[in-house]
Symmetry: C2
Subunit: 233 residues, 2 copies
């Protein structure tokens, strides 16, 4: 029986939930991510379990089986390759690729996908820094910490930005933050002030927000802090 695109989406969301954080997904979160009613999700999860793609603790979390993980990685590979391809070949901006990829990932044949992979030179990450699983299902997560958790004064390079919100992506690009941007964490301004970062690597001359902040420093909002991952430059 052919895997329908609905199943592909469920499995992809279930997998993605644990990609940057360890807690398995619950039915209500799954429903929210898919834009469906909780009752619909319960039913579908039952079918996933019946197909051997997921296991489900009743009244609890949903996890993927090895088979489900395999399918999820295939879909992630498709999604991310397509996003990369749209940017490289068709001048899409990084905030414009997600929706198109969301549709195309279910439609391209393996053959076409392989041809695209080759055309792109077998890329290892997508426009948002997410790793592209290899054809054999291998995936290498970039090391990095969430900007929110970065220590004050540290310097790092942006290795991943969540592509969930296109508006945030456009904003960050306008501010000069994209993949591989070096930045220095100034820290949180006192008395409930914003979280400041400085573009470029300034290891050594970085100072705390209390003393060394300059007007040129960027004040990032909470959403950005939860969306940007950095690694030692």
């Amino acid at each position: 029986m052919k895997t329908q695109s609905v199943v592909e989406d469920y499995v992809k969301v279930i997998y993605s939930h644990t990609e940057w954080q360890p807690e398995p997904i619950t039915p209500s979160v799954l429903a929210a991510r898919l834009g469906l009613a909780a009752s619909s999700v319960t039913e579908m999860v039952k079918k996933l379990a019946a197909q051997g793609l997921a296991t489900h603790v009743k009244y609890g979390a949903v996890t993927l089986t090895a088979q489900g993980t395999e399918l999820a990685l295939r879909m992630l590979r498709r999604h991310r390759l397509i996003e990369t391809w749209l940017v490289e070949q068709y001048a899409y901006r990084w905030d414009e690729v997600h929706d198109e990829a969301e549709v195309l990932e279910h439609a391209l044949s393996d053959r076409l996908l392989d041809a695209i992979d080759e055309q792109l030179g077998f890329p290892s990450r997508d426009p948002h820094g997410d790793p592209i699983p290899a054809r054999d299902g291998t995936i290498t997560r970039p090391v990095g910490v969430l900007l929110r958790d970065a220590s004050e004064g540290s310097t790092g390079r942006v290795v991943r930005i969540s592509d969930r919100d296109p508006l945030l992506l456009r904003h960050l690009e306008a501010e000069g933050i994209t993949l591989d941007t070096d930045l220095t964490v100034i820290g949180r301004a006192p008395f409930g002030g914003g979280f400041l970062v400085r573009l470029g690597a300034h290891a050594g001359d970085a100072t705390s927000a209390a003393t060394g902040a300059t007007p040129a420093d960027l004040d990032l909002g909470d959403q950005a802090l939860e969306s940007i991952w950095i690694a030692a430059a």
Copy 2:
């Protein structure tokens, strides 16, 4: 209400039936082309009519309204642009593109389609010689006659080959017949013999099958005669 891909397929088949031949399609033929039961088609045609895409003479033919024709041309543009793109960009052979296009035509966004159109230099025909409707719905049918109806001794250039049967396409390519191939109609060999053509333009030295056939002449089967269109070279 978004047009579903099922509707798009119905409308495309209805239109295509009158593209090279004037009789409107009947429910049974429509069912055969779509691989569905006649009863399913009756129901769906009713819905097409309700949506203003088709008109249906009860117990009779199905025809498209202006609106239905517009949708059909949009879909044909998609299908044929995609076929062309697969051949030009991804080294598909002309007998391999149809199935992939059949899926992708429902999935690509208008934006991506336009980008592809531009990348290809706004092609006017697909790998099988079918005209690609312009964005405004304009379509220019190539002039040409079915090879079956070509007069003996005439010379012509292949302007269109039906892409319905991949095996025929491969066969013809192996025999040296593709788009723009010049050929001379020798004619039907006597006593129920095959239909002979000679590669290249040999206006003047063409002779009837009875007298001038040579071993090198190609003997085309009935299916080919019904699938190849030629025009004066």
